[in-house]
């Protein structure tokens, strides 16, 4: 009997807590506008809450599709609030600017999701407070900035900067001639296929994973996360990996010779490679202890510096 009473009480608690305080009514409204950009124009979007998808395509039109949404218990209030969301589009000097204007942006109970198609040579600047940003097939420069949400960039040819506070960053099949920065505070950074001269990737507590990058200068830094790099090194490339308490793992093909300097204060260093003392031709073995590794492999054309405080460092052969 006591079991039955307990079960009934538990059921009541679950039923009560799972009920919403008041049923929400969602009202939505579509927004659509087409603008024009000449070659190498700029598309600049600032949103407040909502997801953004931007795709580069053939043609010179900028097609902006948006859905405004508000959820409130009272449908009349929801409709009134919906009318307060203003999407402003301005075209000026080969630049299209889109701004979402809402009253009380910090706690406005509404959102705007954007789906935008831009000419593929356009530069894109996109910014939002909450929501995800997905950009693909953009040949112009891309800068994306989100506070609470993730950023992904695929098929972007002039990646410039990706930044978020609480979300992940994903880069795939991208490139850049100018320096690239990607930084997040608590999220992870995942790179699969990146061709660039200078790249800087940072996170405070997230992991950073890099695969198949062709980068001349790579700086990767985290405080608490792990750092993983898998692929080839560029000849004459410079690579710096730095983590305080996370582990650093490099899985290298060994096709490119490199000079390595690895140090950890209280972790361990391990390597599959056999190192010489210095540059090509130098005799004698490299210096390898439990916490230090210094030496040259092959022609030592690339430079790899690995530093951890309490994390482990490993160099494996693919």
């Amino acid at each position: 009997m006591r079991h039955v009473v307990r079960l009934l009480l538990a059921g009541l608690v679950i039923a009560t807590t799972s009920l919403p305080a008041a049923a929400q009514n969602e009202v939505s409204e579509r927004f659509s506008k087409t603008a024009h950009l000449d070659q190498n124009g700029t598309f600049d979007l600032t949103n407040v809450i909502g997801d953004i998808v931007i795709t580069g395509a053939a043609g010179r039109d900028v097609m902006i599709e948006a859905v405004k949404r508000v959820q409130r218990p009272n449908p009349r209030v929801a409709r009134t609030l919906l009318q307060m969301i203003d999407i402003q589009v301005t075209e000026q000097a080969n630049r299209v600017e889109v701004r979402t204007i809402v009253p009380r942006p910090r706690n406005f109970p509404g959102s705007v999701d954007f789906t935008v198609t831009v000419p593929e040579d356009a530069s894109v600047i996109v910014k939002t407070i909450t929501g995800s940003i997905r950009a693909s097939n953009i040949k112009g420069e891309l800068r994306a900035d989100v506070v609470a949400g993730s950023v992904s960039a695929a098929g972007v040819r002039k990646l410039s900067s990706l930044k978020c506070v609480t979300g992940d960053i994903e880069i795939s099949d991208a490139g850049a001639d100018d320096p690239v920065t990607a930084s997040t505070v608590s999220g992870n950074v995942l790179v699969r296929g990146l061709r660039a001269r200078t790249v800087q990737l940072t996170s405070v507590s997230g992991n950073i994973h890099i695969e198949d990058a062709q980068v001349e200068r790579l700086m990767v830094k985290t405080v608490q996360g792990n750092l993983d790099y898998a692929g080839d090194l560029a000849r004459s490339g410079r690579y710096e990996f730095n983590s305080h308490s996370g582990d650093i793992r490099l899985v290298l093909s060994g096709n490119t010779g490199f000079e390595v300097l690895a140090n950890t204060f209280s972790g361990m260093v391990r390597s599959d490679f056999t190192f010489n003392r210095g540059r090509a031709g130098a005799e004698g073995a490299g210096i390898q202890g439990p916490r230090t590794l210094r030496g040259a492999f092959g022609d030592a054309s690339a430079m790899v510096a690995l530093r951890a405080f309490s994390g482990n460092i490993s160099l494996a052969r693919r």
């Binding site: 600049d44 600032t46 409130r72 209030v77 009134t80 609030l81 307060m84 402003q88 600017e97 701004r99 204007i101 009253p103 009380r104 942006p105 910090r106 706690n107 406005f108 109970p109 600047i125 910014k127 407070i129 909450t130 800068r143 900035d145 506070v147 609470a148 410039s160 900067s161 930044k163 506070v165 609480t166 100018d178 320096p179 920065t181 505070v185 608590s186 200078t198 405070v204 507590s205 200068r217 830094k221 405080v223 608490q224 730095n242 305080h244 308490s245 140090n263 950890t264 204060f265 209280s266 530093r307 405080f309 309490s310």
Partner: protein
């Protein structure tokens, strides 16, 4: 030899300035005559020249793209803001917070530059000066000053951030503080450890960057967060 008389001309000389180029400037001419006979000054000039050559081969340091993006968008935003945001913008002073944060960063850079420029102090001969305290890491105090100023700003503007973002930033500042403490403890054990020193400076630098971002975020959001009563407030109930 009165080498120190010409200390202020060294930089110009290394940069290629010659007396003949400036109407036979008397002091530079005197320095050139002195240099021809002084091995010590020749060594200094050679040293500075090699530094200059090496420095010119270093990668160009470009400010993070987000810095210019932020400046540019702030300029544009100001023009685009509706009247009520513009009115509030002045009262809430996000620019002031940003300017103070930028000033702190500049002071930090200036401090580090001074540290680098100043000659190394003479080694202490007094054995009583030696203690069990870890050797002070050069530049640490500049970071500490910057952090104190930024922390004050961040605390003052934090309320403008949404609670979830604020919690993430607080947690990550704690992660960095742990790294700072671990590095300091390591320096107590091994005062000469370069690795511990580098880890400490890295962690301090990361903290400065995160606090700068916190202030910038809070200022951005704060510009519109304290909007006075409007129709939406009533409808939000």
């Amino acid at each position: 030899m009165n080498c120190q008389l010409y200390d202020d001309l060294l930089d110009d000389y290394v940069d290629g300035v010659r007396a003949a180029d400036y109407g036979n400037d008397a002091r530079m001419a005197a320095f050139e005559r002195h240099l021809a006979q002084c091995a010590q000054c020749q060594a200094v000039v050679a040293d500075l020249t090699s530094i200059r050559i090496v420095a010119s081969t270093l990668d160009r340091q470009i400010p993070p793209p987000r810095l210019w993006a932020k400046i540019a968008s702030s300029l544009d935003e100001r023009q685009r803001q509706p009247w009520w945001q513009r009115q509030l913008g002045g009262a809430l002073s996000p620019w002031v917070a940003g300017a103070v944060a930028a000033s702190i960063a500049l002071l930090l850079v200036a401090g580090l530059w001074q540290q680098w420029k100043q000659p190394a102090p003479e080694p202490q001969q007094d054995i009583s000066a030696l203690s069990s305290e870890p050797a002070a890491v050069p530049a640490e105090q500049h970071y500490e000053q910057a952090i104190a100023g930024l922390q004050q700003l961040a605390d003052a503007h934090n309320a403008a951030l949404d609670p979830a973002t604020r919690a993430v930033l607080t947690q990550n500042l704690a992660v960095i503080d742990r790294a700072i403490n671990e590095s300091r403890e390591a320096l107590v054990q091994e005062p000469a450890s370069t690795l511990a020193q580098e880890s400490l400076l890295d962690a301090l630098e990361t903290k400065v960057a995160l606090l700068q971002d916190t202030v910038a975020l809070a200022s951005d959001t704060g510009a519109v967060a304290d909007e006075p009563a409007d129709a939406a407030r009533e409808l939000n109930q």
